[in-house]
Symmetry: C2
Subunit: 426 residues, 2 copies
């Protein structure tokens, strides 16, 4: 049996239940989150800035379904009451006129936007000072570094991030929290700084897959009901064998096998699914799509502020500038073919499971790790949930991805919740 | 023979040729555009604000392929050197940190961003004070009102607009200028205020389809070479008979028939294409897609500034707020099916021709007209070029749309250039 690590402690499901039942108040829950941040964030450095008192007073009086839920928001989302700097000196002190769509929707639902969390520059690769709460000497991953770390440290029950390559699922795996990278465009990205407009995807971090489902339901008004797979219920699970699995370390492979065994014992049917060539080609096209679009999306920053960009982002854009429209069109075609191939995978299985990262969080803060296991599903737009619970021999989290068909976010969340319960119940 | 109206007088092709050949300079061309604006815009009111002198001095020294080309930019595009107000008091005086992607790309290519042009509020329906240069008592159309009018009045050779329903092609038809609503995502919309993220499309206005092709080529680095259809060259043209054609007035129908005759005489083969049911359903789904997304995209403005919104936009958002996720999903499915049906249309024809509007520009400035003839192609993402040249008995322009398969912008532009030449040569 693999090691386990504990679930993050701030439970969205508990808070929503307690506030709606009158056992707690929004003000109490927000104050508790503030206290936890004050206590823990000194050594984690997940937060860049805290909400002004007036905003939290308003949130304490809110009555919506997310009342009392303190949300940390990655600093590439616009916020009307706090600076929004995109991890870049170019935007130092920048105050948007309006909230990003998702931020506004969260406020409408009664949530408290409690602060802005760290992001690599423009959600790319240059690291932040944020530390991994499971081991301070390790990266939390990126680009949604602060959001993953803040939830993992139990400071807040919900955080917003974004993924263009692997920026939600990878830090969730490294930090040992649940995370949803939903179907492309399930959540609006308006007011989120653009890096690559066919890839950028808003996503959530929470303690559990159950919390993620609840947050998504309350924010979008969608049912998101599926299953129950509680007793296995005929769930068909494919272990996804990709063409890049050789890069995955042994403990991560073991975590995926252990997940399959737990699911099988619960009644699920397990099959092996070999990656079709179209999906290997789609993965290989990700970098071209991303680089070409980033050069346009960040045209002003690249042309007028090249010298103030971080070295990793600068290199990404230099390479992107060499991509021709013809190269891009070829890559986009591979992506389109890949989306169809991804749909076909789910004709014989309900969900796929796969490694959420190459292994545990790398040591040091110089790199946020590798998005190799994530970027295919970002490109195809399939929903992915990171399931936490397993740990390496060194005690670092190892996340398992649950992937479903495009638009079947409810299925991915339900299967992930089942798997998370099975891991916790070992 | 139908009446004709003259081509707009500022020629991008001439300016690019003259500057590159040393017969003119960027500075001279920019100064000439400034003079034309100073002379004409008093009664047209196409411009909201002019570029600062420093920006134009920099542009006068530019050496890129668009050097000397003065561009008017719809005020929903971010500009680093001018306020960007989105047609809304909510953004009064707002100065973005960086240029929108397309604005930056234009500057990189050497163009002069000479000023910001009027837009209806958030590119929706509440009219601007801009007048139609062909008849001051008539609307220029919207939402890209100022961009269409500024090119029509001969003030500038190129203007940027955007289309979510019919906001490029309709004002181009009303004002008698060429315009390109390209394939969805051919041009980046980053830094353009979002209304509906699966519909918003950046587009261009110029005197001729030839100018549009040159501008698009120089801005995107794409070849965009097609044809030549000069001698008819076997061009297969379908007259598109839609399920809403009964709403089109007799003179506009006559313009499309006249276009077909001119093309046939030039050697093209003309066929009739009846609208398939899937495309009638797709058109009917546009409003639901747009309304649902607009409520999310403008969440903050809608929730916090409802009373300062114009009455037409307010009504659009009120209706949008009543759309359920289930309704939206049904509409999105109709759109997806519609995109496939649209592609099938082009298995037997190279381009379709259709009315660009219900008729000439309506009298008065209270309404910007109807997008009924445009919104299907916005939803499907097919490229559309408005071909000017025909006029009503009252002398108001009547535009003909040339539509091509998704991604075949070059084909739409080449066929439109042929048609525009044929109309002018009558």
């Amino acid at each position: 049996m693999l090691n386990r690590h504990p679930t993050a402690t701030a439970s969205l499901t508990r808070i929503v239940g307690a506030v709606s039942a009158g056992r707690s108040t929004a003000g109490q829950e927000i104050a508790a989150a503030k206290d936890r941040i004050a206590e823990a964030d000194g050594e984690i450095a997940a937060f860049l800035r805290k909400a002004p008192a007036e905003s939290l007073e308003l949130a304490a009086a809110a009555t919506g379904p997310l009342a009392g839920v303190a949300i940390g928001v990655k600093d590439i989302y616009d916020t009307r009451d706090m600076a929004s700097e995109n991890g870049s000196s170019i935007y130092a002190g920048h105050r948007p006129v309006t909230d990003a769509a998702l931020v506004s929707m969260a406020r409408v639902a009664g949530a408290a936007i409690i602060g802005k969390t760290t992001t690599t520059e423009f959600a790319s690769l240059d690291p932040t000072p944020t530390r991994n709460p499971r081991n301070l000497d390790h990266t939390p991953g990126g680009s949604s570094s602060g959001s993953a770390a803040a939830v993992a440290a139990g400071m807040i029950p919900l955080a917003f991030g974004s993924q263009t390559g692997g920026s939600v699922i990878r830090p969730a795996s490294f930090c040992g929290v649940a995370a949803l990278k939903p179907s492309f465009r399930l959540l609006p990205t308006v007011g989120m700084k653009t890096f690559s407009y066919t890839l950028d995807t808003a996503g959530f971090f929470a303690a559990t897959a159950e919390d993620l489902a609840l947050a998504t339901r309350l924010l979008t008004g969608r049912d998101l009901v599926e299953g129950p797979f509680g007793e296995g219920g005929g769930l068909r699970v494919g272990i996804y064998r990709s063409s890049v699995d050789d890069n995955v370390d042994a403990e991560m492979h073991a975590a995926v096998e252990a997940a399959a065994q737990l699911l099988e014992r619960s009644g699920a049917r397990i099959v092996e699914v070999e990656e079709p060539a179209a999906l290997a080609e789609a993965r290989a096209s990700h970098e071209t799509v991303q680089g070409f679009e980033a050069v346009m999306a960040l045209s002003d920053e690249f042309r007028n502020h090249r010298n103030s960009l971080g070295p990793k982002l600068g290199a990404v854009l230099d390479q992107g500038a060499a991509i021709t429209p013809g190269d891009y069109d070829v890559a986009r075609r591979a992506a389109r073919i890949g989306r169809k191939a991804a749909s076909s995978l789910f004709e014989t299985v309900d969900v796929l499971i796969a490694p959420s990262a190459l292994g545990p969080a790398p040591k040091g803060l110089e790199s946020t790790g590798d998005a190799l296991m994530n970027k295919l599903w970002t490109l195809t737009g399939n929903p992915v949930v990171n399931v936490p619970g397993f740990a390496s021999s060194a005690g670092l989290p190892l996340g398992v991805s649950v992937v479903a068909r495009f638009g079947r976010d409810a299925r991915a969340l339900a299967a992930a919740a089942l798997l998370q319960d099975l891991i916790a119940g070992q």
